[in-house]
């Protein structure tokens, strides 16, 4: 154990920027929010302790059940689809062709467009009458849905937009691809493996830790979906609450209905859900994720 310093003091000294920041900016608000989750707290008056009432109310709140269902559905659609699309895009963008940096920029740039503009652009693209998406569907003879105004399709429309905003994971996958040793591919080729088999037996295992990373970030992000549906739907929750998500309801409770206690209870439930899901993903991935050298 001579390799690492064992002293608590040096350890704390080095990590001080983080834990000082934690104590200064996070610990107090977090402690308060935990306390507040056991209170009525309309923000403009001091909190009144009510025990576990907010939590029991949550259990009986149909809208709470709805936003949880919506959030799960979104995660179940957006994360797998996003992963497939991002990995495929990354492989495509990793081919040694000229002008690759321009193609990469094209995929990345949507992620930095201000959300207002994203919303307006997609409202136009998804317009059932003159939007390009339905025009394209009509070309292949498919009837286009009403997208944003249809309770059944609104969620899918949002998933589409999330696929358009897939740039950051693509960049991370690209990095992951470049990290897979070329020798592995050469060995596979010598063994006569087809490109598909190479993908299956070299690329995918090599990429698996990065996929795990992105899936976890995706899980966290899906539970924090908030701004985009707000600006894309005039009713701010979509037809029949179809794109009303966990954090949106939390936010409405806090700042529209002035139920900060209730919102805080939601936040702590959310925290536990994300923690559990992350743990689950880790557990499930254990057999499929290959770390090099281990």
């Amino acid at each position: 154990m001579s390799r690492t310093r064992g002293s608590l003091l040096t350890g704390l000294l080095w990590t001080a920027p983080w834990w000082l920041g934690f104590l200064l900016w996070l610990a107090l608000p977090l402690g308060l929010s935990l306390y507040i989750s056991f209170c009525d707290y309309p923000l403009l008056r001091p909190p009144v302790f009510v025990g576990a009432k907010n939590y029991t109310d949550l259990a009986a709140d149909p809208l709470f059940a709805r936003v949880i269902a919506n959030t799960f559905l979104y995660a179940l659609l957006a994360i797998p689809l996003g992963t497939v699309v991002a990995v495929l895009l990354a492989i495509l963008l990793n081919q040694p062709v000229r002008g690759q940096s321009i193609y990469r920029a094209c995929i990345f740039v949507p992620t930095i467009v201000p959300l207002v503009a994203v919303a307006v652009v997609w409202m136009w693209l998804l317009n059932p009458e003159f939007g390009l998406v339905n025009s394209a569907l009509a070309l292949v003879g498919l009837p286009g849905p009403l997208w944003l105004e249809s309770p059944r399709w609104a969620m899918l429309a949002l998933v589409f937009v999330s696929l358009w905003l897939v740039g950051s994971p693509v960049v991370i996958y690209l990095a992951g691809l470049q990290d897979i040793p070329l020798t592995l591919y050469e060995a596979a080729r010598i063994d006569g493996a087809s490109p598909l088999r190479q993908f299956w037996h070299v690329t995918l295992p090599g990429l698996s830790p990065v996929i795990l990373f992105n899936v976890i970030i995706g899980v966290i992000a899906s539970w924090q979906v908030f701004a985009l549906p707000y600006v894309m739907w005039r009713t701010q929750r979509g037809p029949g609450n179809s794109v009303y998500f966990y954090t949106m309801y939390l936010y409405d409770n806090a700042f529209q209905f002035l139920k900060m206690g209730y919102a805080s209870a939601m936040a702590w439930v959310q925290f536990l859900i994300i923690l559990a899901l992350t743990g689950l993903v880790f557990r499930l991935s254990r057999r499929h994720v290959h770390y090099r050298g281990s």
């Binding site: 009525d40 008056r45 317009n127 105004e149 005039r234 029949g240 002035l258």
Partner: protein
């Protein structure tokens, strides 16, 4: 250094450094010898110009005499910002909010009651039209003053009226007559798809006032204890909406509404003459003047179920003094200036709203950008003008009402069942709020 790095430096690094070094700096100077009054307002961009001008004039004249310097601060998301700042103990001295927020804020004790203070500071409220003061009251007390009030009327396309064989000088006065207009103003193509629509209550097309329809059926919604959707009159409104949808065809309507564009959005179907009638405020004449100056349109009160009782939705932007404001006295001096008829009417005129005064001065009408402003004024005079329900939990109830309207519009449930279900949810929301208020009373 390679080419990329060099390019990066010249294209981004250099401009960034130059901008940091020589870029414009926000100058922010206030005279040292004055009390600085922080005034937060939601109007931004071009909309803020009239008020900025008034503030500037106040600072030059009355403010100079009384040692007050008003700082106009445009704030986006002003309700939330005011809420957080007030909760954090750092509110502005005056905030320009929306009327619908008054009961919620007032019930939490977040607003200064103004009845007594207005008298002390000689703010003349007698000249105001009663409806505008009523909107600013909660639980018998005055918590705000009207800034730019408005009524909502029916804009109708006169050309389309003529085309449909309707008399453009006889806009419908009753719901029954209105239904007939809608029927005749709705056109379809050979496939049965709607190409032109008479009217719609779809919240997807107009996101603002989805709770309002029962009022045109003479309903009493909030009675101080309960929000009543299950009365025959309120039910009649939702039955009416459902019946119109059935008659015109739900799928066709939904398709039209999903494609024709939203009224406050980028593609306005009324300006494009695809929607013959809309429920809108006086400011819409501004859009028409800028984007469709040739449009031949008229304005009338929105019809009610009977011709005798003229229900009118009235609403207003308001001024409030948040609790904890540092300079309430100075804020009242500024409010006193704002409530002068010449000052306030100038603001309302430039904002394309109605005047809050009983007897607007002649030049208010003469210089008003909306040629039909007198119609909106008359509407405010109706004894049956109504504002938002004065209930502190309306924000949450309103989301249920949106859900109800959507259920009826989409036919997810028969209107009767939808109303019954929503009544239960609304009761629960109100009940929870009242329980909370009771616990608050009981707390030490």
């Amino acid at each position: 250094m390679n080419l990329r790095a060099a390019l990066l430096l010249t294209l981004l690094g250099l401009p960034a450094v130059l901008l940091l070094a020589f870029g414009p700096r926000g100058a922010h100077d206030v005279p040292a010898d004055r009390v600085v009054l922080r005034y937060w307002e939601k109007w931004t961009g071009v909309e803020s110009v009239p008020m900025e001008r008034i503030v500037e004039r106040f600072n030059r004249t009355v403010g100079a005499d009384e040692g007050i310097w008003v700082e106009y601060i445009a704030v986006s998301n002003v309700e939330k910002r005011t809420l957080i700042a007030t909760a954090g103990g750092d509110p502005p001295d005056i905030a320009g909010l929306f009327d619908k927020i008054i009961p919620q804020f007032a019930d939490q004790g977040a607003l200064l009651p103004l009845d007594q203070l207005a008298v002390e500071h000689e703010i003349d409220l007698a000249g105001l039209r009663p409806i505008w003061l009523e909107i600013c009251r909660y639980d018998g007390r005055l918590y705000a003053l009207p800034s730019t009030p408005y009524t909502i009327g029916l804009y109708y396309n006169r050309r389309l009226f003529r085309e449909a064989g309707l008399d453009p000088d006889q806009p419908p006065r009753t719901i029954a007559a209105f239904d007939e207009c809608v029927r005749r103003l709705t056109r379809r193509d050979d496939g049965g798809a709607i190409t032109q629509l008479g009217f719609t209550t779809s919240p997807g097309m107009l996101g603002w006032w989805h709770w309002v329809w029962p009022m045109f059926f003479d309903a009493q919604l909030w009675d101080g204890q309960r929000y009543r959707l299950d009365t025959p009159r309120a039910r009649a409104a939702y039955d009416w909406i459902a019946a119109r949808r059935d008659e015109l065809g739900r799928p066709q309507l939904l398709r039209f509404e999903a494609t024709a564009g939203a009224i406050e959005g980028m593609q306005n179907p009324f300006l494009a003459e695809r929607l013959a009638m809309v429920f809108q405020g006086p400011w819409m004449s501004n859009w028409i003047a800028s984007y469709a100056p040739e449009l031949d349109y008229g304005v009338a009160p929105f019809p009610s179920v009977t011709a005798e009782r003229r229900n009118v939705f009235a609403s207003s932007d308001v001024f409030v003094i948040p609790r904890g404001a540092r300079h309430p006295r100075e804020a009242l001096r500024f409010l006193r200036y704002l409530m002068r008829q010449d000052v306030l009417e100038e603001l309302c005129r430039l904002q394309c709203k109605v005047s809050p005064f009983r007897e607007p001065r002649p030049d208010f009408f003469a210089g008003h950008p909306n040629p039909d402003i007198a119609v909106f004024e008359q509407m405010a005079d109706s004894p049956h003008a109504f504002g938002y329900p004065a209930m502190p939990m309306f924000a949450e109830v309103n989301t249920e009402l949106l859900h109800l309207l959507e259920n009826v519009i989409r036919g997810t449930l028969p209107p009767g069942q939808a109303v019954t279900a929503s009544q239960q949810h609304v009761d629960a929301i109100v009940q929870r709020y009242q329980d909370m208020a009771r616990r608050r009373e009981a707390a030490p």
